[in-house]
């Protein structure tokens, strides 16, 4: 526990001391403004958009999970580039446990800010418990995002490319809303599909339990596979 706090504390020190990472901490503020100012303004100016409002809210909310996905990917790639990761490799720790624990603080913060945005968005009123549950599942996206980018990239340049690829994979299932019903399951392999569908139902106060279960199982599976791979490559 003490180790986790020490490591997370130095992770955050480094993030704050790196201008190119620090800037991303403002992403939630931007999302906040978009959902509370920009989207309401759009609705007033262009009433035809009303029927797309729910999709905008879904899409913007999911973006919350991208902040730490990006930041932590870069932190891990940098530590591998500078070979500091090897030092963890000779510490008395279980690598898998250590990696998962290290994702805990960013995942908790992601859950909290996602919850916050669902509470303050002005369009739908959702029970606090339901929105917290959704936020916790959404935050489970952070570890597989980070680990996928870190496993694929040898350096920061490659990291940037993979961040874009993963971002696309995160957003892509939104297309499921606009394809004929019979095809939307094609996106089901991507965990975010179930997050999108779940959030959609949540906003309409429908039952979203099934989507949350599938999302959790898929994200758990991706995380398990990736953390094994990561623990073999990152520390050597």
């Amino acid at each position: 526990m003490k180790q986790l706090l020490t490591v997370s504390l130095s992770d955050f020190k480094m993030i704050f001391r790196d201008p190119s990472l620090r800037i991303f901490l403002f992403l939630p503020v931007m999302i906040f403004l978009v959902i509370n100012v920009a989207v309401p303004w759009l609705m007033r100016e262009f009433p035809v958009l009303e029927e797309y409002k729910i999709y905008l809210v879904v899409l913007v909310t999911i973006q919350m999970t991208q902040m730490f996905g990006f930041i932590y990917s870069i932190v891990l790639i940098e530590e591998k580039e500078q070979e500091v990761s090897k030092v963890y490799g000779v510490m008395p720790i279980s690598r898998i446990q250590f990696t998962l624990f290290r994702m805990l603080i960013p995942a908790i913060i992601t859950a909290l800010i996602t919850w916050l945005i669902l509470i303050v968005q002005p369009f739908y009123s959702i029970p606090l418990g339901s929105s917290l549950l959704f936020s916790m599942v959404a935050a489970l996206m952070v570890p597989p995002y980070v680990l996928a980018v870190a496993v694929m990239s040898k350096n920061k340049m490659e990291g940037m490319v993979w961040v874009k690829v993963i971002n696309l994979a995160v957003v892509l299932p939104a297309a499921a809303f606009f394809v004929p019903k019979g095809f939307s399951w094609l996106f089901g392999i991507l965990p975010t599909h179930w997050a999108f569908q779940g959030l959609y139902k949540l906003l309409l106060n429908e039952s979203f339990a099934f989507e949350m279960v599938v999302a959790t199982v898929l994200l758990g599976l991706f995380t398990t596979l990736l953390v094994r791979r990561f623990s073999k490559t990152h520390f050597a």
Partner: protein, 283 residues
């Protein structure tokens, strides 16, 4: 303390093995060295021993227990001085040390201030590592390796990139660690380091150990026991050490002119290395 038998290793995807059936033993409280040119496999062998490379062939046992059977207690018992500086550049030297100190049992940790003072970095303790020179970073590597008072210590080129004064200091610290009973495994391509520090040294080239012995024995076996006498006139001659005092031609030669210098013809470790491996240390 450490027994290695027929250790072979091939990097995933590589054609040929990097290590070929290495066998050696390191006793408790000794400084053991790998001396060999660049690319010989020194770092690879150490990485296997400190368990960041897996998938080797052969047997390795530490304190009588197979390396693969050791758990976290092993990492608590060892210290690793990496070949290249590896620190978080955006953190200060002290923050870097404190971060990794958190992984070790508190009662084993040495005082940070003492460690920094040991290597003359006390004035830079709160500086970000990005403002450090290579030599300063290497000294930070050194104290990170020993901060938890480990029993077994690996130093991969511990004096590489250091100026002579700091290299001297680090060598003295390594000797002091041996005096405290630590078991130390160093790698180097510097014959002076090997000669001065190692109780026993293994010559390694192309992933193979060619000979293992004490530096003194190696030099003795492969050097010539003779002196070379040089006069100011430029005349030189060699005389065997054996019964030099009774050697009449030696005394005659000395009387022939003004003496410039007398050298013993003991081989350097590097000369022995070249004789045995046919390779230079500066590959």
């Amino acid at each position: 303390m450490i027994q290695v038998k027929n250790l072979s290793f091939t990097y995933p995807g590589a054609q040929a093995p990097t290590l070929k059936a290495l066998s050696f033993e390191i006793s408790e409280g000794e400084i053991f060295g790998f001396l060999g040119p660049s690319g010989a496999g020194k770092t690879t062998a150490q990485k296997i021993l400190y368990k960041i490379l897996h998938g080797f062939e052969g047997e390795i046992s530490i304190k009588g227990k197979a390396l693969t059977h050791w758990g976290k207690e092993y990492q608590e018992m060892i210290g690793v001085g990496f070949e290249l500086p590896n620190h978080y550049l955006k953190l200060t030297a002290k923050e870097n040390m404190a971060l990794f100190a958190a992984f070790y049992p508190k009662e084993k940790l040495l005082r940070l201030e003492d460690l920094f003072e040991m290597v003359g970095l006390e004035a830079h303790i709160n500086k970000k590592v990005e403002a450090f020179s290579k030599g300063m970073k290497m000294r930070l590597n050194f104290i990170r390796a020993i901060m938890h008072d480990p029993e077994i210590i690996f130093f991969d080129e511990p004096t590489a990139g250091l100026d002579p004064v700091n290299a001297r200091k680090i060598r003295d610290h390594i000797l002091a660690l041996r005096a405290k009973g630590k078991t130390i495994f160093i790698t180097t391509h510097n014959m002076t380091s090997a000669d001065e520090l190692c109780d026993r040294v293994a010559f390694i080239a192309d992933g193979e150990i060619l000979v293992t012995d004490s530096p003194a024995t190696l030099k003795h076996q492969h050097g010539r026991e003779a002196v070379k006498v040089e006069l100011k006139s430029g005349q030189t001659e060699e005389f065997p050490l054996k019964e030099l005092g009774q050697n009449v031609s030696f005394a005659d030669f000395l009387r022939q002119g003004e003496l410039l210098r007398i050298n013993t013809l003991e081989a350097t470790l590097e000369e022995v290395f070249i004789q045995l491996t046919g390779k230079s240390l500066k590959a």
